[in-house]
Each structure stands twice: as C-alpha cells, then as structure tokens.
C-alpha cells in the first residue's frame, strides 16, 4: 500500500497562489466574500503564508504554501471526540463530514492551522462549475485538505482497469498540476524509487515544526 506524501520545493515557488485558487476550485471550497473574509472566515485548504524577515530596506520575504501536513502523529485525530477525523492506512488524515459535530477541538489542536470551519451556509460563485467528484460540506462542520483523495481513488481505479500497478506520477494533486514553478511533487514516500522519496532525501529537506513530533508527510526543500 502506498503511503502518500508531498514535496514542496521552495526554490521553485513563486508565491503566485495559483495552488490556493486551484484547490478552491477543485475541492468545492465555499467563497466567503469580502465582508466575511475581513472577519477571518475564509476557507483555503492550501494557503500561501508570507514570512517577512527584517526591516526595510534590509527586508526579505519568504513564501510557504501550506496544505495539510497529513501527520503520522496527527494531533487532530488524537482529540476528535467522535472519530470524525481519522488516519487512513495510506497515510491520509481524512475528515468524515457526516460524523463531525462541529466542536472545533481539532482546529485548536492543529499547530499548522490547516483546518477550516463552515461558519455559515457555504456559498459558491457558480453551481455549474462545482466538481462532482468532491462532496459538498454543510454549515457547522470542519473541513480540510484531502491530498485530493478523489484523484488518488480515480487513479487506482484506472490502473486496475488497465490491469497494472499504480505508477509514480499517476496521481497529480490539483495544486501540483497548476503550480506555475513546478514546485509541488506528489507520490508514494514508501516507494524508494519515487520522485518524492528521492527529493525527501535531499540536503535541503525539512518538515514544518518537526520538534512537535507530529511527523508531517509534507516535506519542504529549503531555499538555497
């Protein structure tokens, strides 16, 4: 069984935020609108964080795309009272929106802030353009990055139909597909020959907040 993971090469990231937009479109994320956005009610499963270092004129800005880390020791799964969020065998941290009671305990427990709450009835700019592969979430539940699990499942089915094993590169997440700099890689970290497994061994590789012991499955390659 594959153990999915992601590598993000910060040297290649241009902070264009196309990944954020692609993710919103792919995963039917509701749009908060300017007013609610001001109040901090946005939903961006993959957000690009800006890190500003120093003062003008000696200022440097770094950017950090932040999907769900799909931790191997996920604090959110540890605290969920009803098991609505759980760890799958293939390494994904999944969210069952039919079980979620909306207590938001997982949100305070996540050190990365990857979880989003539906503060109101979700609204979409157009209904026709919703992705039929991704279920809509009702108001009052928590949602988060799924590593495009619907694409993973579709790739598995396709490989099975063609009577072959899943190959490296069969699954492309929406953020990866749209990334203008080609900074995002996705694949099986368990397979030593996969691109992500090789990149993860690079000297520049690091994980976010490793010291907390969450064992993230998203690996960053630091800027050179």
């Amino acid at each position: 069984m594959a153990r999915w993971g992601m590598v993000i090469d910060l040297d290649r990231c241009t902070a264009c935020q196309a990944c954020t937009v692609a993710c919103v479109a792919e995963n039917n994320q509701p749009v908060a609108g300017p007013q609610e956005s001001q109040k901090g009610r946005n939903i961006f499963w993959n957000q690009v964080l800006a890190i500003v270092e120093g003062e003008y004129p000696l200022v440097k800005a770094r950017f950090l795309p932040r999907p769900c880390m799909h931790c191997d020791e996920p604090p959110c799964v540890q605290v969920c009272p009803v098991g609505a969020t759980y760890k799958r065998d293939d390494g994904l941290v999944a969210q069952n929106n039919d079980l979620c009671i909306g207590c938001r305990y997982c949100m305070v427990a996540c050190p990365y802030g990857v979880r989003y709450f539906n503060w109101k009835q979700p609204e979409y700019p157009t209904i026709e353009n919703l992705n039929p592969d991704v279920p809509l979430r009702p108001k009052g539940v928590v949602e988060k990055c799924t590593f495009c699990v619907h694409r993973i499942e579709a790739a598995k089915v396709k490989a099975q139909a063609e009577g072959r094993e899943l190959r490296d590169g069969d699954v492309k997440t929406a953020c990866q597909q749209t990334c203008t700099g080609g900074a995002i890689y996705f694949g099986d970290l368990e397979d030593p020959n996969s691109q992500v497994a090789k990149l993860a061994k690079e000297q520049r590789a690091f994980r976010l907040l490793e010291e907390l012991g969450t064992k993230p499955r998203v690996i960053y390659l630091g800027e050179g």
Partner: protein
C-alpha cells in the same frame, strides 16, 4: 405547624410581587436568548464573533467558568462529612443546588458552541475514549449524577416534613421525594450514611472534573499558553476559589432577599475560608507567569506580554487587582466579614475568575503566529453571544428562584434554641 418549621418554610409560603417581577424579567431575557439561538441555528456560528483563528470564544470561556463554579457543592459537602464541621450543614443544600445548576449551565454552553448540535448524540454513539472531550463527558455525567443523588438524599427528609406542613402541595413534595415517606430515626441515620458515602466519592471526582476540563486545553502542544502541566492544578484551585465565592455570594443574597435562616457565623466562616484560598490561586498564577517570563520562549512570552500590557491588559489587571487583591484585603479584617463585606468580596472573586477564564481561553488563540506566520486574530463579541450568555445566566437564576419556592433551601433543624426563633408568620403579617 410549629414555629421551627415555619422559620424554614416561610420563604415557601410567602411570595412577594418583587419575586414575580423577577421571574417575569428572567423569562423575558430567556425568551430573547431563545430567539438569538434560533438565529444562530439558522445562520450558523458565523453570527458570533468567532473566526479563524479564534475557534473557541465566549461560550467556551463560560463553559470552563461554570464547571469551576460548580465546585462549591463538593467543598461544603466535604466540610460537613469529611471534616465534620456541622455548622456548614445549613448551607449544604444551597451549595449542592448551585453545583447541579452550574453543571447543567456548563453543558448548555458546550451545546451552544457546537456547529452541529443536532449531532450531539454522536458523542454517546461514536465517542472515542482517547479524546479528552469524551473524558469530560464521562466525568461531568458521573459528577452530575452524584450531585443529584446527594441533593436528593439530603433533601428528602425535609420534603416529607413539607408534605405534613403544607398539605395543599402534598402531591408535589411526594413527587419530589420520589414517593418516599419514611422519617423514622433509623431512616434518617441511613440517609446520613449515604450522604457521607457520596461526599467521599464526590471529592476525588471533583478533582477529576476540574482537571479533565483543564486537560481539554492543557494537553494540546499546539497551544502555548495552554500547554502547561500546571493547568490542571490551576483549574482545581480556580474552581475551589470561585465555587466558594459563589456559595458565599448566594448565601448572602439568600439571607437578604429570601430571608433564609442561615446564621451570621456561617457568613463569617465562608469569608475566612475564602480569605485563605485566594492566596493559593495568586501563587499558582505567579508560578505560571514566572516560568513563562524567565524561560522567555517567544510563543508563550508573546501571549503573556499581550496579557500584561497589550490587548488583554484590562482583563488581566482586573483579575489580579479587583478579583484577587481587593477581596483578599477586604476579607483580611475579621470585622469586614459581614454580609456586605463578604458579598462584595465574593462577587469580585467570581468576576475575577471569569476574567481569568477569558485570559486563559482567548489570547492563546488570537496569537496565531506562535509557530507559523499567520496574522493576529481579532475577536469581538456580537449581540448573539451577549444575548445567549445573558439568557443562560438568567436560566440559572430562574432555576434557583423556582427551587427557593419549591422546597426549603436550608435544612430544617430540630431543637433550635428558642432565642433563635424568628417571628412566626402571623406575627410578621401583623407588624
């Protein structure tokens, strides 16, 4: 009816227009809160001030506040049964009633906070024993059952007496006593034994209740400001102080408004107990803040600075000065341990602990940049939150007011010396 029973039953017989006015006002507040709740149900939790990153707001502040306030019941019960200080028996029922109502209010607050209250039964059906929230569900339920049992066994003998004294409400008391009518000496002794047993169970259970509530927050490594081994003990101490203060406040108010037959020395004793517990809370807060400042870890230090001279400075200094220091100074003078002195001091302590709860819950979340460079959050209460919180408070007061008219809040004592006798009902009416 003899004069003794009359002394205790007077609040039940005599209901003034002010009482009815209070009930109507409380009813109006609750109705308004119901409207606010339907509004929240329809439009979602977005009608509150909560947002990313303030995932938990005023409802959770009140949840931990009321869990803490429920401690009064077990303190008084253990004073009576474990330490055998019989004089506190007269306030045991009030304390237990407060414990029960505070626990119910806390449960209401957690329900208000849910995004999907229609799925609250998931907690029972799909509950995961690994989650601290489920530990809290278990311990709150157990504690509530023990409190209810304590309240029942401590009251049923008096309910039987009421059956005799107020024949027109015989059925009601029969129902409240669950059909029990035995008042023989042997049965009373049996009741006392059960009460003693329940008090012994309740003490460790109370420690568990307050610790588990703290651990909901304290076990999260993602939250500097919460993630501290001291949080459990701090909650136990905060609960003791605020619970004791609430009992004192209600005793003082009950003496004044409901003319409850509670002696002066009880107020004095409650005042001095409160005096000795306040510094323990002060010490715990100091220990926590010293550790944070000395270590100077940026994440926790940032939250602390925000509390001391930042956005939350008012709440912090209110807690420290008006909530701890001023009541401590007032109660330091034995002469000030009067109804007024103890009343003011305990009111300040209760408000101070509410401020402390706010500063535990909110600042750690607003400072979203502990680890990752998220912008600082803002949290402004909306009318929905104010209305709902006011409504739940009103519900608590209403519950207490109704109980005050249903059964005697003070245990009916046999053999009170004649000089303690208060004027009988007929005499009161004459004057």
């Amino acid at each position: 009816m003899n004069h003794l029973e009359e002394k205790y039953l007077q609040p039940l017989m005599h209901t003034g227009s002010k009482y009815y006015l209070t009930v109507v006002v409380l009813g109006l507040i609750i109705t308004w809160a119901l409207y606010a709740y339907f509004y929240q149900l329809i439009y979602g939790l977005g009608v509150t001030g909560m947002n990313t990153p303030t995932y938990w707001g005023f409802y959770i502040v009140n949840f931990i506040f009321f869990i803490g306030l429920s401690a009064g019941g077990v303190i008084v019960a253990s004073l009576v049964h474990a330490f055998n200080i019989q004089k506190f028996k007269s306030v045991a029922r009030i304390a237990e009633l407060l414990a029960i109502s505070c626990l119910v209010l806390a449960t209401i607050f957690i329900t208000l906070d849910l995004g999907r209250p229609d799925r609250i039964w998931h907690l029972l059906v799909y509950g995961r024993l690994g989650s601290p929230l489920i530990w809290d569900v278990i311990v709150i339920t157990t504690y509530l059952l023990v409190s209810l049992a304590y309240g029942y066994f401590g009251t049923r003998a008096d309910l039987v007496k009421c059956m005799g004294a107020i024949p027109q409400k015989r059925r009601l008391y029969w129902f409240l006593a669950l059909g029990y009518t035995n008042t023989s000496e042997k049965a009373l002794r049996g009741d006392r034994k059960i009460l003693r047993g329940l008090a012994i169970i309740a003490l460790p259970l109370a420690v568990a209740l307050h610790s588990v509530t703290a651990w909901i927050m304290g076990l999260l490594k993602a939250r500097p400001g919460w993630h501290s081994a001291l949080l459990g003990p701090l909650f136990v101490v905060s609960a003791t102080v605020s619970g004791l203060a609430l009992v004192s406040l209600v005793v003082v108010l009950g003496r004044k408004l409901l003319k409850l037959a509670i002696k002066d020395e009880i107020v004095k004793a409650l005042g001095s107990l409160l005096f000795f517990t306040i510094p323990i809370l002060g010490y715990f807060l100091f220990a926590e803040l010293l550790t944070v400042t000395f270590a100077g870890e940026p994440a926790a230090l940032g939250i602390f600075q925000e509390m001391v001279y930042g956005h939350f400075a008012f709440v912090f200094w209110f807690n420290l000065i008006l909530g701890l220091l001023v009541p401590f100074v007032i109660l330091a003078f034995p002469r000030a341990r009067t109804d007024f002195g103890v009343g003011i001091a305990s009111l300040l302590v209760v408000l101070g602990v509410l401020a402390e709860r706010w500063n535990i819950t909110i600042p750690s979340q607003l400072h979203a940049d502990h680890f990752l460079p998220y912008p600082h959050g803002v949290y402004n209460l909306t009318w929905v939150e104010y209305s709902l919180v006011a409504g739940v408070y009103a519900l608590g007061v209403l519950f207490f007011a109704i109980c005050a008219k249903l059964f005697p809040l003070v245990e009916i004592e046999e053999g009170t010396p004649p000089e303690e006798r208060v004027p009988s009902l007929a005499e009161v009416k004459k004057s």
